[in-house]
């Protein structure tokens, strides 16, 4: 595996994630369209499905907010790389910005200066885990700001376990139509202040059609709010709740809710 292979892979992953949705996400959107009863919500869901089809056919980004470049990497411990992996990912993001193209979204947080290539301090956001095996797994998740802005984290107390559901419902209620519902909810429970936020984000990589009973219970409560597609009322406010847990301190219970818009864009590749 060469430096250039990683660069190419990153470019292609962003192209794929930006221009087409994975089958599980599409299935969830179609289900909502078929089962929605509100006329306005149904119209919005129809636009969404048409938009996805048009973007794929034309190979153009589904949404003009092509998001921030977020990259999750799993590196097999038997793998030996003789190049700088991070530089290759950064180069891939720069090239994807020009070639896909991606909107230059990354700016300095205080001066708001835009370098134009989606690259800066700590950007792209890269998470690297070392795992068993000899493969390099790369997942990209370009994430828009409308949904990210509605996310929240709370340092709950150990006896607040039965209030987790209420917290998720509260975060979704406060977001109303802003994050482009129907949304996907990444839920991080436990770990540390920062670790729990990362778990919430990582959970969004999962297959959105597979949920456990705990997640389904929260999903039902969230949909009971009636916010609906684009906040104009309806049965489908969220399409999935996906959680990850991490062990936490005996005195704490961090909970993070990472909201993802209906365009749950991600793409995966495995290199050897």
């Amino acid at each position: 595996m060469e430096y250039e292979d990683v660069v190419e892979t990153v470019v292609e992953l962003f192209r794929k994630a930006e221009t087409e949705l994975s089958e599980d996400v599409l299935r969830a959107l179609r289900y909502a369209y078929e089962n929605e009863e509100s006329e306005i919500a149904k119209m919005n869901l129809k636009n969404i499905l048409e938009n996805v089809e048009y973007a794929k056919a034309k190979s153009i980004p589904i949404c003009q907010d092509t998001g921030l470049p977020i990259v999750f990497v799993e590196i097999g411990r038997e793998l030996c790389l003789d190049f700088d992996l991070k530089s290759a990912i950064i180069e891939g993001v720069k090239r994807a910005t020009k070639e896909v193209p991606l909107r230059p979204n990354a700016v300095h947080p205080i001066t708001r200066k835009n370098p134009g290539d989606n690259v800066g301090d700590y950007m792209p956001y890269i998470s690297i885990d070392v795992v068993e095996g000899d493969e390099l797994k790369i997942a990209v998740m370009p994430k828009g700001a409308g949904s990210e802005n509605c996310s929240a984290l709370k340092m709950m107390l150990p006896h607040d376990v039965d209030k987790i559901k209420g917290f998720v419902v509260e975060v979704v209620k406060n977001a109303m139509g802003k994050p482009c519902p129907p949304i996907f909810i990444g839920l991080g429970i436990g770990s540390t202040f920062d670790g729990c936020a990362k778990l919430a984000k990582k959970a969004l990589l999962r297959d959105v059609t597979k949920m456990n009973d705990f997640e389904l219970e929260i999903l039902e409560a969230v949909n009971d709010l009636g916010i609906g597609a684009m906040g104009m009322g309806g049965k489908f406010t969220a399409l999935a709740v996906l959680s990850e847990i991490g062990y936490c301190h005996t005195a704490s219970l961090p909970v993070a809710v990472n909201i993802q818009c209906w365009a749950n864009r991600r793409a995966f590749a495995v290199l050897r």
Binding site: N47, A55, P61, A145, N149, D162, M176, K178, A221, G226
Partner: protein
């Protein structure tokens, strides 16, 4: 129903919450930075390089590409309008009539001045289909998303979300959502 720009009060008055309306003519994009600069200019008594009275302002930071000397739209859906709540309230003091296109709703009293139209968020690819031409761009120094792009559109489809009388679809939904919320969480917050 179809509305041509520049918008006129007598046309906007006919729009009712929930109506599907098509906009044809010229729309101008503006988001956070463009609103701040517009207000700065207006407060200083300086002319804007574009007309806002009778305009259709689109809350959108498009994804554009330069082909030769010309800009083309790649994807141009709406951005979250609520970020422009405060600046829009101020901007209304400088116009007689206006229409705004965005997503997610606004907390602004448009009564007697204008309407708020919703376009499905995230549908940037589909929106680009109705944008026929990029007429010009102002304030490109603000960066691609924040610049003011002038688009010529044909039958850009929107849902009337806040009408001329101040009926607000989001307010109605919000009231119900707050009631549902209390019932769902009970005492567990």
């Amino acid at each position: 129903m179809e509305i041509r720009t520049p918008v006129r009060k007598e046309d906007l008055k006919k729009l009712k919450v929930g109506d599907l309306v098509y906009i044809s003519g010229e729309i101008i994009t503006a988001r956070d930075s463009a609103h701040l600069r517009m207000l700065k200019y207006l407060k200083e008594g300086r002319d804007l390089p574009f007309e806002i009275d009778g305009s259709v302002i689109y809350h959108c930071g498009p994804l554009m590409k330069k082909v030769g000397d010309e800009w083309v739209v790649i994807s141009a859906g709406p951005t979250t309008s609520a970020r422009m709540n405060a600046t829009t309230k101020e901007l209304l003091n400088y116009v007689d009539c206006i229409a705004i296109i965005g997503k997610g709703g606004m907390d602004v009293d448009f009564r007697g001045k204008g309407v708020y139209l919703a376009y499905t968020g995230g549908c940037g690819a589909l929106a680009s289909k109705t944008i026929k031409r990029v007429k010009t761009v102002h304030w490109i120094d603000l960066g691609m998303p924040e610049a003011v792009w002038v688009f010529e559109v044909e039958r850009f489809p929107c849902i009337v979300a806040i009408d001329f009388e101040g009926n607000n679809i989001y307010e109605e939904v919000k009231r119900k959502v707050e009631e549902n919320y209390k019932r769902i969480v009970g005492g567990k917050v």
